[in-house]
Subunit: 258 residues, 2 copies
């Protein structure tokens, strides 16, 4: 039987340790092709490159693995993977990450890692974004790899419905302290931002975005709760942003101008 | 009574005709402050600028209106508006656009216009993204302005719940051919992409993203249906991407590794 074809991408760039860890797991489960950004793309959200051309270059980064680096965003990588690098080949699973840092809760909309996975799901490819709650380049991915292997294997054996993607976040804990997996909803948390102001040599101001993540969602069914309590969080996510509960309450607008 | 404070932004850049049209309507209804990108930012989705500093510069673009241009993405503009330009002032409404081109259906996730509005809604500011289905720089915004005035006035008189945003798309029709407003769900449509390949002087390939928008959603309750039938579409939208219908079907994953 042919092995499944697994597309691996990320937003930290093709040389990040996190994508290497993900490739190592994927190699055990299928044929792997990597299409990833040639530079860090954190915070790029669902950005695509419209007004500039894109480069896609065959590179040798992982021994024995077909790999391409792309000059664009994570979403561009998935589009180029589907339509150029893997044209005419069926992609059975797309995995994105392992991100260096959390993509729980509202981070899903800022995250290049998750936007790449969402783009794949829009193309009908089952897809999973993986993130480890450790921002450092020297993060220990071994406990994460153990659990990612389980999740990827399950996704390959029981493909979830088209259009679905999973947002998986992994606490930064030793293997024996991770309690297991939790299916969660996205916590209603947000960033409380501030800007650091500085001055250039011409005394003109410039600003650095900074801030802290604040969770005021009291639920014990959220991804943030799961992570704070030693579980890996899995949020089934989607691209339909319609607020269905608001359709009827907003219906009065249809009478405007009549 | 103090006039409401209206923040105006967009993704086509501060000199685009669409934002000028929106400012003209907003001026009739409240005090207006513009914080918009200094260059076109189409397709930037929910990108934020993490690894570079941002510039925010007071500019005179609209007679009698406080305006700032920002070097970042549309989402950066809203963050800088809230935390720097309008620090300590309460923003009553954020309007983004008028975008030159459709942001119906799945375009919401690629759109800088809508991402700016969503970012404002995350900050608790009622917000609306407006788009006209005409990509040209010479688009006629007059029919759109008529309807936008109605919608903004209603939003100021009956603020919708925090966290809500409206994705408003306007067909490119003369005023007397627009049938009215429709509350809709996001159509389940998508882009079918291809890449144009070209060669540089060193015979190396590069790629331009192109594609066409395909709607296979048969519903007559969608934004695409409304627009094709002469209505202005209003989709109440949100930032919770949890696929609630998938929570129970995915619950079996919790048994993995046990």
């Amino acid at each position: 039987m042919a092995k499944p074809l697994i597309l691996v991408t990320n937003d930290d760039g093709i040389v990040a340790p996190g994508i290497r860890a993900l490739v190592e797991v994927a190699m055990e489960l299928g044929d792997v092709v990597v299409v990833a950004p040639d530079s860090p793309q954190s915070g790029k959200g669902h950005a695509i490159t419209i007004h500039d051309p894109l480069r896609l270059k065959h590179v040798k980064v992982f021994a024995g693995i077909e790999a391409w680096e792309c000059s664009g965003t994570p979403v561009d990588c998935v589009k180029l993977a589907k339509h150029v690098a893997l044209k005419h080949r069926q992609i059975d699973l797309c995995v994105s990450g392992i991100n260096h840092g959390s993509n729980a809760s509202i981070n899903i909309i800022y995250s290049g890692t998750l936007s790449a996975a969402m783009e794949a799901s829009l193309e009908g490819i089952p897809s999973i974004g993986f993130s480890l709650l450790d921002y450092s380049f020297e993060a220990n991915f071994e406990p994460a790899k153990h659990w990612i292997r389980h999740i990827m294997q399950s996704a390959l054996e029981h493909p979830f419905p088209s259009g679905n993607l999973l947002n998986v976040n992994i606490p930064n804990l030793p293997l024996d302290q991770i309690k297991g997996l939790r299916i969660c909803r996205q916590a209603d948390a947000r960033w409380v931002e501030e800007f650091l102001e500085a001055r250039d040599p011409n005394n003109q101001p410039y600003y650095w975005l900074t801030g802290k993540f604040v969770n005021e969602d009291p639920g014990d069914d959220t991804d943030v709760w799961a992570l704070e309590n030693g579980y890996i969080s899995i949020v089934p996510s989607m691209h339909d942003l319609t607020n269905y509960t608001a359709l009827e309450p907003m219906r009065h607008l249809e009478r405007l101008g009549q």
